[in-house]
């Protein structure tokens, strides 16, 4: 079974040289730490920055320089600032190659819910609806089951939707799965996790074909 860092490390392997990538809040933010050295990748922060760098050193925080999670950050050589309309312009016009975000639920047709629990959590969708409606490639980083042990990979989302038919791949503490027209297709198992355990934790349609390899995590 993977921890959060393991999930981030596995997702980092999906990033290719030359990619522009938008990372959501939570586990997706951690992915930045595991992009292979020497790879040309530009991180987009939807509040108006291309070329997001690491957190600043203590004492060097700049209140004018934050990421979409409102954390203090830095720039890198070649960074560019822009306004919010242009930011979502580059998202809508599919200039951003990969979007990685968290989810509360994903359905086996690629629907995603991650912004609202009616009567309980009222925070808003932020940029998530824009990102999922337009991104070329969406990878979801999430826990396979919720705290009550219930599957978050469902035949149909029960929570209010963020977007429809959009998720392409899911990485959880148990597995890597593709979203296909026939449902979730199991690609890899987390170290020490059996196909049976993944079947048990997946409520949506699950396709298991042949031998399922174990993930290789550095």
């Amino acid at each position: 079974m993977l921890d959060k860092i393991g999930i981030a490390k596995r997702i980092a392997k999906e990033i290719k040289d030359g990619y522009y990538v938008n990372l959501g809040i939570g586990i997706p933010t951690l992915v930045a730490n595991y992009i292979p050295q020497g790879m040309n990748v530009v991180l987009q922060s939807e509040n108006g920055l291309l070329g997001m760098g690491p957190f600043p050193f203590e004492g060097e925080e700049d209140p004018d320089l934050i990421n979409a999670g409102k954390q203090t950050i830095t720039t890198v050589p070649g960074s560019a600032f822009f306004d919010s309309a242009m930011s979502f312009g580059m998202i809508r016009s599919r200039k951003v190659d990969l979007t990685i975000l968290g989810a509360m639920e994903v359905a086996d047709n690629g629907d995603i819910a991650n912004w609202k629990i009616p009567g309980k959590m009222v925070k808003g969708m932020g940029g998530a609806m824009d990102l999922v409606a337009s991104a070329k490639n969406i990878i979801v980083a999430m826990q396979h089951v919720n705290k009550a042990g219930e599957s978050k990979l469902l035949p149909k989302c029960e929570l209010p939707l963020t977007g429809v038919n959009c998720v392409k791949k899911i990485v959880t503490e148990l597995a890597v799965l593709d979203v296909t027209p026939q449902g979730f297709k199991l690609l890899e198992r987390a170290p020490g996790v059996s196909v049976e355990e993944i079947k048990k934790a997946t409520l949506g349609r699950l396709i298991v074909e042949g031998e399922i390899p174990e993930m290789v995590i550095d």
Binding site: D64, T72, F82, D83, R92, M125, G126, G127, M129, L161
Partner: protein, 235 residues
């Protein structure tokens, strides 16, 4: 042109009860601190505020929520404010949550003189309820888009780094965010700047918002520029 006013009190003096305001900023970054303080002091009520976020409990728009001056918020993310959540769940505050890109683009549409725009954000979700939609071919595939209307705001209040008496504005780093679009979108646009420089000293090539969009400008004082999530690494 000289659009300079003395201070925030003078800049906002004609903002009336039940007005619709746009307020620039992302989180607490690039918010018009001086004008928010002046609005609290003036005590104007029943406001509809269009702003990406609602501040925190004791800073930013949170200050206007505490004094119950806000009737309605139109925002994309409001997760940082407990008082906001309380007023929302108790029904004291009306809230319209909309996607962040939709918020930006509805400001942009107003500033560009376009009554509506089409965006795919929110298709198939509760955001689409009651909205007109239309299908367009995108890269050879038919895709559905929602028609979203340009905002109609009485006042836009923005914060810039530098400005001049013409109203020309330059923003800094990610404090730019929603400020340029909102500056273009207000019937009356008020800009507070960290540094007001003499006319003719800003490099014309560097100006983000041309002065034609700005009606009043002043140099703000005592900027706190509070950091919401201070994250650092060790040397």
């Amino acid at each position: 042109m000289n659009k300079t006013v003395k201070n925030a009190d003078e800049a906002i003096k004609d903002i009336f009860d039940n007005a619709t305001l746009m307020l620039g900023g992302f989180g607490l970054c690039g918010i018009p601190e001086n004008c928010i303080t002046a609005l609290v002091k003036k005590g104007v009520k029943g406001l509809t505020c269009i702003s990406n976020n609602a501040g925190v409990d004791d800073f930013g728009i949170g200050l206007m929520l505490k004094t119950r001056q806000v009737k309605k918020m139109i925002s994309s993310y409001v997760g940082e404010n407990a008082e906001f959540e309380r007023q929302l769940l108790s029904g004291e505050l009306e809230v319209e949550l909309i996607p962040q890109g939709t918020l930006a683009t509805r400001c942009l549409a107003a500033g560009y003189g376009m009554p509506a725009v089409f965006t795919p954000a929110g298709v198939g979700t509760e955001v689409a309820i009651g909205k007109e939609s239309r299908k367009f071919l995108v890269e050879g595939v038919e895709k559905e888009f929602l028609m979203e209307m340009a905002f109609d705001a009485d006042f836009a209040i923005v914060k810039a780094w530098k400005g001049d008496p013409h109203g020309n504005l330059i923003f800094r780093e990610t404090a730019r965010n929603f400020n340029p679009m909102m500056a273009m979108a207000g019937k009356i646009t008020i800009a507070e700047v960290e540094e007001l420089v003499p006319a003719g000293t800003l490099e014309p090539d560097q100006i983000h918002t041309p002065g034609i969009y700005v009606h009043r400008i002043f140099q703000g004082a005592n900027y706190e520029k509070r950091i919401e999530q201070r994250t650092v690494r060790k040397k």
